[in-house]
């Protein structure tokens, strides 16, 4: 009894030192990782003359919120926020619903060509959006939806489906068949089982998929760049691209504009991160 505990006591200092060093290393990397945001915040709340005089890494000797007002107007944020919110709110629920329906058919119903369809849909994960740009531009023009944020709906749905189906299919497949049997005995059809049993049981997966899908919808640039052109119809990434060009030499205004664009997202991320992390992990496991 005494010999092993003496040995443990001797080893204890080393056991404490190593984690301490690791923690210190981690903290240094984390501060470094976060530092771009710190410099942005410091710059956005100081006056331009203070910034030019003392540089970005000094403590501010002035305090102002004027940069934010200026950047808000020049960056068209009121319209880009509205447009991005509009397409995200419309696109995500539709995308999740139709993907869930397909995933349900693949996971739980007797579907002809099942494996072929799965392969064809999952292959979409690998396809870069730019292969579709030219023909889609033509299609959307024929639909009269060029320079309309809803012109993005079809392409965004299509490019979201592979990931959504992959995650939901793997989740649905793990739901035991026994749960449906009682309902089937009572004569419930597939729709009833889908809406009354499958969806409520899968709520965590649905929320996760919806959040990840909202992030990629919100952030998409290339399709929006091709399909939208007037300022009033631009989404947030497009507006920011514009703003970056205009404000190239107004360092404090640019910092404020970047923060206007990213802080709401970072807050949402901090609140929802549990779902995002489980979603990434679930998306990666074997479907």
């Amino acid at each position: 009894m005494s010999a092993p505990s003496a040995a443990r006591a001797r080893r204890r200092p080393r056991r404490l030192v190593v984690p301490l060093v690791m923690t210190a290393v981690l903290l240094v990397i984390a501060v470094f990782w976060f530092s771009p945001f710190l410099v942005l915040i410091l710059t956005s709340i100081r006056t331009s003359s203070d910034f030019l005089q003392h540089g970005p890494l000094s403590a501010p000797s002035s305090f102002t919120l004027a940069n934010f007002g200026e950047a808000w107007d020049a960056g068209l944020f009121s319209s880009t926020y509205r447009n991005s919110a509009l397409i995200t709110i419309v696109k995500v629920p539709i995308g999740v619903l139709i993907s869930a329906m397909l995933a349900f058919a693949l996971a739980k119903l007797r579907m002809p060509l099942r494996r072929t369809i799965m392969f064809a849909v999952f292959l979409g994960l690998t396809i870069p959006i730019y292969i579709t740009l030219v023909p889609l531009f033509d299609t959307i023009r024929q639909l009269g939806l060029i320079d309309n944020v809803f012109g993005l709906l079809g392409p965004y749905l299509a490019f979201g489906i592979p990931f959504e189906v992959l995650v939901l299919h793997s989740f649905f497949r793990a739901v035991p068949e026994e749960l449906f049997e009682a309902a089937r005995m009572d004569g419930a059809g597939n729709w009833r089982i889908f809406f009354r049993i499958m969806l409520p049981l899968s709520l965590p997966a649905l929320v996760t998929v919806a959040i990840l899908d909202a992030v990629s919808t919100w952030n998409e640039l290339l399709m929006a760049l091709v399909l939208l052109n007037s300022d009033a119809n631009k989404t947030l990434p497009l507006g920011l691209l514009n703003f970056q060009g205009q404000f190239a030499t107004d360092y404090t205004g640019l910092a404020a504009g970047i923060l206007i664009a990213v802080v709401p997202m970072l807050v949402a991320y901090a609140i929802l991160q549990r779902w995002i992390v489980t979603g990434l992990t679930a998306g990666a496991i074997k479907g």
Binding site: P19, V25, L26, I29, A30, P36, F37, F51, L52, P56, I98, M101, L102, A105, L109, R110, M111, I117, M118, A120, V121, F122, L123, G124, T126, I127, I129, L133, V134, P135, L136, T139, G154, P155, L157, A158, I161, P162, V165, N190, F194, V215, N219, L221, P237, L241, Q244, Y251, L254, G257, A261, L266, Y269, Q273, V277, L280, T281, A284, I285, K286
Partner: protein
Amino acid sequence: MTATLAAPPPTARRRPRRGGASVWLFALPALLAYAAFLVYPALQSVELSLTDWNGISPTRHFVGLQNYVDMFQDDTALLALRNNAVWTIVTITVPVVLGLLLAVLLSGATRLKPLLRTVFYMPAVLPLVAIATIWGWLYEPNEGAINVALRDVGLGFLAQSWLGQSSTALLAVMIPAIWVRTGFPMVLYLAALQGIPAELYESARTEGATRWQQFWYITMPSLRPAHYIVIALSLIDSFKVFDLVYAMTYGGPGNTTQVLGTLMYFNVFRFYHAGYGTAIAVVITLIAIACGIPYVLSQTRAERR
């Protein structure tokens, strides 16, 4: 759910399935959207890539494989292809190694783990345009934080126009990409590390294994499924590069940071070479599909095991 990252997936039991016409009602909305806005336009692009279409004119002529032949004689296209290869290698290797390192360090730091995981993954949720704007601002030659910091610590001779010169521009665009892409492998590795039974480490310790030995003989082999997934998904993602390059350098200076995605965009929408531009898109898509197929097949077949 997370445990399967570290262990082989449980074998699925074959279940009875219900069919009928309603199966197609479930499947069709998503399949139609997918076919109409992804599969069909992608195939149309293949057809367009065999023409001399300028993108506006009502007429176009079939030119066979001429656009593809031209591509291999176009120095800019070859440079873009090379840049894509460099991009793929660097923005997979560095984030995967760094993500693994962070995950291993974090898995030991129980109390700090949630906070630091949030910090390291944070850049990944932002639009790439925002990332590009942040870094363009940090790289600014005169007042940007990076050059100012270098001057402050007496390394002023290293201060330079990071994005404005061909020798550093590609590297300068890849650094923000690394900042964005390290969080994903870290999150996956963290989940996988949780799935490794603690008893393995305990018995290794009683047999006197060093930390390094534990890492190589227990951690790394247990992470094999995670490595596969991380690398496959990073590879698929890396061919989609467009936003960062477009928003930071426009492919410049003098095309030195051009990748196939941006080159395709400029050819179609700036130079009115729609046929040639789509041929570039077809090439990169074929490469992406070829690299992605093993992963797609593993996802399709998973339930057989």
